[in-house]
Each structure stands twice: as structure tokens, then as C-alpha cells.
């Protein structure tokens, strides 16, 4: 069965919002956030896609949404399914996967610290992961102004000049050569 036919079969059970065939062995599709965990548990129980390979979140600040991304792999057939589910950026709350895959707890712990996403029921919510006692905006959110934070919080040694790689090479070899290469 091709991946496309497989996803069409899935759409009889779940609401598939969009599909995209990125490669022969990698197929993407979007589902509503409420259907993500039922879909993943169905895939794990009844299909060869049993391995949670990647579990992450993307900040779509323009749409006011976070995209939860789950990558499931079929270790025998060497295929992967990428399932995307959008959640609201304000509430930033997603369903936990830790009962399906215990290792998801670590991913959720990290997303909780770096993006401020709350997973109700996940065991390590609110505990420190990499940062210690972080009180600012979660640092991987796109509205966190890293440069302003660094300038305010971390002192720097004066005298450091900023020069782009292009300018530096331009000084070294001359602008003529650089233009010629273009």
C-alpha cells in the first residue's frame, strides 16, 4: 500500500486537514489538535508506525498558533509519517504522549521550558530542565528578544567589532575578486 492510500484509509477514521508527500518514504499530514493523541495511539496499536522518532513544536507567531509535530517511523518498512497539529498560542496547551511512549516525557519537559507549552498530566511540568529559575519569556519563543535580553543581563567586554564574513574576505582578497566570483 502506498503512503497516500494509507493516509486516505486513515481519513475514514480521523479528520485529515491537508496532506503533503515530501518524499517516497516521508508523508506529512495535518489533523486537528484534539485528534492527535487518538490518531497516534491508533497508529501505534494497529499499524507498523510504532516508533516515536521525533516530537517537537514550531512557533507560528503570525498565525497565533503552535504546531505540534510528531514523527512516527515504521522500522521494518523504513517509512515515516509526520503528523502536524496546531494548538492555540495563547493557551499553549497540548495533550501529553507519555502514556503511549514514556520517553516523550523528556521531550515534553524540554518543550515546557523552552516554549512554555503545558502538557496536563505530564510528570515534569514546571521543573527546571536546562535553565535554572528562568523567569523571562521562554527563550525559544519567537517573541523573546534575545539580543535585548543579553544586552541587559550579561555584561560584555568593550571593544569587540562586528564584521561580516563577506566584508572580511572583501578586505583580504579585494572587492574585485569577490564581484568576479558572483
Amino acid at each position: 500500500m502506498t503512503m497516500k492510500a494509507f493516509v486516505e484509509e486513515l481519513s475514514a477514521r480521523f479528520e485529515v486537514l491537508w496532506t503533503h508527500a515530501q518524499r517516497d518514504d516521508l508523508f506529512q499530514f495535518g489533523v486537528p489538535a484534539v485528534q492527535a493523541v487518538p490518531l497516534l495511539s491508533y497508529l501505534k496499536a494497529h499499524t507498523p508506525f510504532i516508533q516515536l522518532t521525533h516530537y517537537t513544536v514550531v512557533d507560528w507567531i503570525e498565525d497565533g498558533e503552535f504546531q505540534m509535530t510528531y514523527l512516527l517511523t515504521d522500522p521494518v518498512g523504513r517509512r515515516a509519517l509526520m503528523i502536524c497539529a496546531r494548538i492555540d498560542r495563547e493557551t499553549a496547551e497540548a495533550d501529553s504522549l507519555y502514556k503511549l511512549w514514556p520517553q516523550a516525557v523528556t521531550y515534553e519537559h524540554e518543550m515546557n521550558e523552552m516554549f512554555g507549552i503545558h502538557f496536563p498530566g505530564s510528570p515534569r511540568m514546571g521543573l527546571d530542565f536546562c535553565l535554572e529559575k528562568w523567569t523571562n519569556t521562554p527563550p525559544m519563543r519567537r517573541d523573546f528578544d534575545t539580543v535585548a535580553f543579553v544586552k541587559e543581563m550579561i555584561p560584555e567586554r568593550p571593544g569587540r567589532e562586528f564584521i561580516t564574513t563577506r566584508d572580511y574576505i572583501g578586505q583580504k582578497v579585494g572587492e574585485k575578486r569577490l564581484l568576479h566570483d558572483d
Binding site: 536546562c130 535554572e132 527563550p139 535580553f149 543581563m153 555584561p155 567586554r157
Partner: protein, 217 residues
């Protein structure tokens, strides 16, 4: 004149004018009241030089591999470059070491551990910072999680530039540190005790969850 000739030979207690007994200093060198400064004896100066010479030639290293620069310490410590030739030895704990090597960038989280480790080391002690990251932040310039200037938080006696410095550069840096110790100019540990308040203020500025004791003895 060879380098060894710079250091005076010591054969017992030298003759000092005014000495009545070899184990009793003359009166004018003793404490004479408030405001007086005891005179530096010739043998004291020579003895200080001798102590520094010993110290420079028996450095016990605690290598704190905070970043990628620590990968260059492996060839340095093992058979290829072998810094034991110069009297360096590797120690496992801060209590037994007197040279702290901080290799590479330090996150704020690591900085707290480094302060703890540094204060546990017995004096005299020295700090070497490897790589651009400890000098001015290096490639972690705009990182929210790393410090950009190490000598604000612990006194650094020698900085070795490079991203990252090769073992040859490290050997040269250590040789420079040894020269500095012999000359009695590597006094970062004295500066740390004298200006502890200033260092503490800088440390507390970046470490938000400060829960260390007054001093980590």
C-alpha cells in the same frame, strides 16, 4: 646567562647585617607600632622567589571541560604533547588542585559550579581560560545562556586565545603562566580575596538563583 641563573642559589640563611642570632630577626624588622611597615628582608625576598619557582614547576591541574576547548586537553595530557614533562599533573578534585583550566564557553548554569569549584581550591591557585569564549564570548556572543567575560566572575591569570587553541598554543600559554608565577605576578587568588565583594556582585548579577554560602570553603 641561562634562565636558571636568574634565580639565586640559597644555601642556608644568608648573612643579614644586624643579626645577633640566626633564628631571631633584628629589632628594626619587627612590628614597631601602628603605621610602621616591617622591612623586607633579603632572605624573605629570595625565599619568596624560591617558593614561586617550586610552585611554577609543580602545577596540579583540575581541567573543567566546560566547552569544546576541552577536546584539546586530551592530546596535551597524553603521550603526544605530554604536559607532565613540565611538571603538570592531573588531579581529580578541587581540593588537591591549584590550577583550574576552564576550557571554552561557560553557561550561566556552569558558572555557578565553577565558582564553587574555584573557592574550594587551596591557595595559591591560578585560573587559565581557554579560547575566545572566555575572553569576549566568542561565537556565543548573543546567547541568552552563556557569559561573555570570564574575568568578571573569577580572576583569570592567563587567557589563551583561539577557537579553539591547539595543544601547541596551550603549551605556550602554560609556559607564559609559569613565567608569570616565577616572577610573582600571578596573584589572581589574592585579588579574589581582596575584592570578593566586587566579584560577588558580578556573579549575583547573572546567577539569578543564588543559593551558595558566603564562601565555599
Amino acid at each position: 646567562m641561562s634562565k636558571d641563573d636568574e634565580w639565586p642559589e640559597i644555601h642556608g640563611v644568608p648573612d643579614v647585617p644586624g643579626w645577633s642570632h640566626p633564628h631571631q630577626p633584628p629589632a628594626q624588622h619587627c612590628y614597631l607600632g601602628e603605621g610602621s611597615k616591617p622591612e623586607q628582608l633579603a632572605y624573605q625576598e629570595a625565599f619568596a622567589k624560591l617558593k614561586n619557582w617550586f610552585r611554577a614547576n609543580s602545577l596540579s591541574v583540575l581541567a573543567y571541560g566546560t566547552g569544546c576547548g576541552s577536546i584539546e586537553l586530551r592530546p596535551l595530557a597524553t603521550s603526544r604533547f605530554d604536559y607532565e614533562r613540565f611538571g603538570f599533573s592531573t588531579q581529580g578534585t578541587p581540593r588537591q588542585a591549584n590550577l583550574l583550566i576552564l576550557s571554552g564557553y561557560l553557561s550561566i548554569k556552569t558558572l555557578k559550579r565553577v565558582i564553587r569549584v574555584y573557592e574550594q581550591m587551596p591557595s595559591p591557585k591560578w585560573v587559565v581560560g581557554l579560547g575566545s569564549c572566555t575572553i569576549n564570548g566568542g561565537m556565543y556572543w548573543d546567547s541568552y545562556a552563556t557569559m561573555k567575560q570570564l574575568d568578571l566572575y573569577v580572576p583569570v591569570d592567563m587567557q589563551i586565545a583561539g577557537c579553539m587553541p591547539r595543544p601547541e598554543a596551550l603549551l605556550e600559554g602554560f609556559a607564559a603562566l609559569m613565567t608569570k608565577i616565577k616572577a610573582g605576578k600571578a596573584n589572581g587568588y589574592i585579588d579574589y580575596t581582596r575584592r570578593l565583594d566586587w566579584y560577588r556582585e558580578n556573579q549575583k548579577k547573572v546567577i539569578k538563583d543564588w543559593d551558595l554560602p558566603e564562601y565555599n570553603w
